[in-house]
């Protein structure tokens, strides 16, 4: 099998938690050589759920396993000058360095861009942070919910008459990781052409704010401030319960399809009524319409509704639970879930490639590293430290 698209690209990975590791995982899964440097106590993501069989253990976090496939791993204490020196030795040979400390940390360790640039003028140094490396919020703290709020996505998310809502899990972190991977390669491409390295500043906050349709431009185009919409019960594209879950109907009315087609498509005779045939009539009779639609969908199975609609070219959506996703025939046909064998857990299914490349595969070549797994090989053989020196450094807490 041929190698990944990024074969031979050397990434020095100083990241922890989610955004940074996701950035470097994307590059690693498409072929880059990624060396992950952890603090001696390990990446805090090693303590994040879910755990394999709920066994709380630094080697059994499934999230950590997922985020760190295809990376080799070493430990280094960057608060020790010997740790910093070894890091610089590693950086001298890297194409891309990625870090996601808060903005004060790298300069305080003597590892700011100018120091790294001196070590390796061709190095692309990518910093991911909550609010970027500059500006009045630079040192503000954030978790996903704060990024959603300050990023403008939360105000328009959720029920009209309730508090704004955020997505489940860690979407802002993942967005930032993907954007950082893109920016890394854009700068790397320039490095390939020019030999010049540079500094890349990725703000998680701006990753959220750069993907908003019809929000800020509603104000600049009309002076209006959009809010969470009053989702009335007769809304034809509202989420509806089925006997086994939820469906997202889309009978195409907004695209100008006439009502009779909708009536025929749904096969509900009560809908064949002037009370529902125009948008304004549907608004007036929303409650009655909502009841008819609720009753219609509640007795059906979501997959049947979904496939029936698509046979008629109505682009319905289906809300799949994780259980549904794991047995989804489309994912299966595309080989989306992959088995990854980790020494601490055995084989576990991971979500696989976001996209397929026909010439250069996405593949898992190795599972996430155990803590300090490659110290011997990288810090010892590669950097030329003897076993005795490594033992001493371990005793001194450098590794």
């Amino acid at each position: 099998m041929s190698a990944g698209a990024l074969e031979g690209v050397k990434v020095l990975d100083l990241t922890h938690h989610i955004a940074g590791p996701w950035c470097t995982k994307l590059m690693a899964d498409y072929g880059a050589e990624v060396l992950k440097v952890e603090r001696p106590g390990g990446d805090p993501a090693r303590r994040m759920p879910p755990f394999f069989h709920d066994e709380v253990d630094a080697e059994k976090s499934l999230l950590f396993h997922y985020l760190n496939t295809n990376k080799r791993g070493v430990t280094l204490n960057l608060k020790d000058r010997r740790g910093v020196r070894m890091l610089k030795e590693l950086a001298a040979d890297a194409d891309i360095l990625v870090e996601n400390f808060s903005p004060r940390v790298m300069p305080s360790l003597g590892l700011d861009f100018s120091a790294m640039h001196e070590t390796n003028p061709a190095l692309v140094m990518v910093s991911i942070s909550n609010f970027g490396q500059t500006g009045p919020y630079r040192d503000y703290r954030a978790t996903d919910i704060v990024e959603y709020a300050l990023g403008g996505l939360m105000y328009i998310f959720g029920a009209y008459d309730r508090e704004p809502l955020k997505h489940a899990l860690h979407q802002a972190q993942f967005k930032a990781g993907t954007d950082a991977a893109s920016a890394s390669l854009i700068a790397f491409y320039h490095q390939q052409l020019s030999g010049q390295g540079q500094q890349v500043d990725v703000s998680i906050h701006e990753c959220v704010a750069s993907g908003l349709r019809d929000v800020v431009n509603n104000f600049t185009y009309t002076g209006a401030v959009r809010r969470r919409q009053p989702n009335h019960s007769g809304d034809l594209t509202r989420v509806r319960a089925t006997s086994d879950g939820y469906i997202l109907p889309n009978p195409g009315v907004s695209a100008g399809i006439n009502w009779q087609l909708v009536v025929d498509h749904m096969g509900v005779p009560q809908l064949d009524d002037e009370k529902f045939s125009s948008a304004s009539a549907r608004l007036v009779n929303a409650e009655e319409l909502g009841e008819i639609l609720d009753t219609h969908f509640r007795t059906q199975q979501k997959a049947e509704v979904f496939h029936d609609a698509h046979r008629q070219r109505f682009i319905y959506g289906m809300i799949q639970s994780p259980e549904d996703a794991l047995s989804d025939p489309q994912f299966e046909a595309r080989g989306f879930f992959v088995d990854v064998d980790h020494p601490a857990t055995g084989v576990v299914k991971h979500p696989g490639p976001p996209f397929l490349m026909n010439g250069t595969p996405w593949q898992v070549r190795r599972p996430a590293p155990t803590l300090g797994q490659d110290n011997q090989e990288v810090l010892g053989q590669q950097l030329g430290n003897s076993d005795g020196e490594l033992s001493l450094m371990r005793a001194l807490g450098v590794i």
Partner: protein
Amino acid sequence: MTDNVAPNRLAGRGAADRTRPTMAGPLAGVRIIEMGQLIAIPWAMKMLADMGAQVIRFESCQRMEGYRGDSLYKNDVEGETWNRGANFYEHNRNKLGITLDLSKAQGLDILRELIAVADVFAENFTPRVIKNFKLEYEDLRSIKPDIIMVSSTGYGYTGPWANYGATGPATEGASGLAYMTGYVDGPPVLPEIPYTDYTAGEHTVFAVMAALVHRFRTGNGQFVDVSQTQTAAVTVPEALMDYAANKRIEPRMGNGHSSMAPHGCYPCQGDDRWITIAVENDSQWQSLCRVMGQDEWAGDSRFADALSRWRNRRELDELLGKVTAEWDAIRLTHELQAAGVAAGAVLDAKDMLFNPHLKERGFYEVISHHPSTGMPPLPYASRPWKLSLTPSVDRTAGPLMGEHNRLVLSDLLGHTVDELAGWEEEGIIGYAPTNPRAVQRPSLDEQVRQGRMQRYETDFEEQVAKAYPPPQAG
């Protein structure tokens, strides 16, 4: 008309290309042909255009791009509405725009000529459409052996659902993300933007770059098959792997967190004003009590440590919400952050535009529109990254319909003005939709009455122009 044809350094075609060194970004020399619609591909190609790629976007006069007809400037449905759509401009800056009718043989021939001088062809139609036009990777490769083709589809280019059309909500639904999101004890809730279209766009930028890096090093192009559903599913591993390994599905948690409390969104002074607060540890909790003047909470055993706070989170949320309601959201944000507590006001559209942090970082960039639109220069969201050496190219607005027909077809491909005139006659190219559709939104008063808009401000033009003055000429 601006001549911004960049040198096609890698594809090696020279004669008609002219250099504008002042605006060369890191991707100068990369030529992308975009057959995009709405968000997933247009957003991604916009990002690459910002970084210097020459993106030639073609569209159809016969089947107008949906975003040309909606969210119109000042809600004005008279005149050339198709050149005044907010979401069109939002997703298409820095691109060259031409029109082509692919249902005519000559239209497809022109497209093939473009592909012959392109590095990347990017599209987001269903495979059925691409097959009908014979625009599959194998077809393109016979024209340009090292072409990179990117298809972005709802569920992927292959598999039993390959030809299912999809919306953003549909792919968010299929990925597992929507199922996990929603208020406690409520049904799934989706955001009011096609969120996963952006997720797909983000991954597409990365995909194009990975393919370009590979081509730079080996000379080989390839086919990239982006499944919008897969790009979303890879961002919810916590849920998918918890089920795969432990057969567990966590209930929907609203704004709650699996270990932090308080962690939520709380009301503030004013109409529909809110703040989010996330307390990670005991010392932050003590800081919060101090900032908010709640000494009794600080000593309350129900909230003494992380586990107690999490167990009693509903009581805690209720107490906290009563106190935040007395505060201004922005002021409380700053006071909590100054004390080291993660907090953020829920910003609306206007708050975002005038936010001092985004302002200082230059996040919104002012772009001038073509004089024929009658629109002033306006600020638009830029990029989530800043590159120190190669920041981005000079900014031009998304193209008028057919704006660069002559530049691309004549200057680049070498066709004569007479040929172009003939094609225009035959409807192969054009400068306006054959069947314009403009969505007339209700008046702003009506939109506010219906609850769709929180408010509107009649002096918005002055406010925007003052905060975001037009770019300097030259």
